[in-house]
């Protein structure tokens, strides 16, 4: 099993052909399936599923992951044990599928009303109420100002979808027609602009955060 192979042997065996490769694939798949099953069993949102269903799910995730791992063997840098690297790929795949499944019923189109930024919620959220302190009201006005005047439509849409709806980034990137990295940079740039906007008005996000506790 897994303890009999070091990193070099894993790579050699998975790149080999015939029975040696078959055995390595079988061992890796079985190990990943066991680890995935252990993890899925801990998830509260899957607690309604029977052991057999979780085993089947782990099996499918492990099979899909092994295919990807075989395609990515050249990318293994040897910074960790091979099995840790493989488990990272498997968990990445499994979580992406679980997030998609959760999200399936609600499309971005519904959230943003045909793709346009839907400001009702944020507008309400950014409208100060009498209970809020002067500093909170000032912060809300500053954020609203930067959001309206300095962020692009795409940045507002992305922030809204991620923060208010918790839209999975993979789903959002696909809906917006951009790569995952581009989406991260788009939101990162929006965060930087909002942070600068607050600091330029003498408001520190750290102090403001304390005022909301």
């Amino acid at each position: 099993m897994t303890q009999t192979r070091d990193n070099t042997e894993w790579l050699q065996h998975l790149r080999a052909s015939g029975p040696q490769q078959d055995q390595a694939i079988q061992d890796l798949s079985a190990w990943l399936q066991q680890k995935l099953f252990f993890y899925l069993r801990q998830r509260n949102d899957l607690s309604h599923l029977h052991g057999d269903e979780l085993r089947a799910m782990s099996h499918d995730f492990a099979q899909e992951s092994v295919i990807i791992i075989l395609q990515k063997l050249d990318q293994f840098q040897g910074r960790s044990r091979f099995t840790t690297w493989a488990a990272r790929i498997a968990v990445h795949q499994a979580l992406a599928e679980l997030r998609r499944a959760r999200w399936r019923d609600l499309s971005l189109q519904q959230i943003t009303r045909d793709g346009a930024f839907e400001p009702d919620f944020l507008h309400k959220a950014l409208t100060p109420t009498p209970e809020q302190s002067a500093i909170q009201q000032e912060a809300m006005a500053a954020v609203m100002d930067v959001m309206t005047n300095e962020l692009s439509e795409k940045q507002r849409q992305a922030l809204y979808a991620r923060m208010v709806w918790n839209t999975p980034t993979a789903v959002l990137a696909e809906e917006m027609g951009v790569s995952h990295n581009t989406l991260y940079k788009l939101i990162h740039d929006a965060r930087k602009r909002l942070r600068k906007g607050l600091l330029a008005r003498g408001l520190s996000p750290e102090d403001l955060l304390a005022s909301f506790d």
Binding site: R81, T83, L95, H180, L194, L209
Partner: protein
């Protein structure tokens, strides 16, 4: 699914979430794919009782700000810590 409804307590929570993100925002940050490439190493350091935040501060910063990568990190930790007797 966790969705914010427009009531006052959720609005307060949204504000905390936004300000927490802005407080953690750095001029330069690693993307999810860059972090993903080092996640295996980061988790092994953690499991070995080392200080991964000192070795890979960029990953530690990203994990504080990105809920999906944090979920991936936590899941990987669970997977590798679980069933130790049957694992490697």
């Amino acid at each position: 699914m966790q969705v914010f409804q427009d009531n006052q307590s959720n609005i307060q929570e949204l504000w905390r979430k936004l300000l927490r993100m802005l407080a953690l925002t750095q001029e330069r940050e690693w993307t999810c794919s860059e972090v993903g490439e080092f996640m295996d190493y980061y988790v092994e350091l953690e499991l070995a009782g080392e200080d991964p935040q000192r070795v890979l501060p960029e990953v530690a910063q990203h994990l504080r700000i990105c809920p999906e990568c944090r979920e991936e990190h936590d899941a990987l930790m669970t997977m590798l810590q679980g069933n130790q007797e049957e694992s490697e």
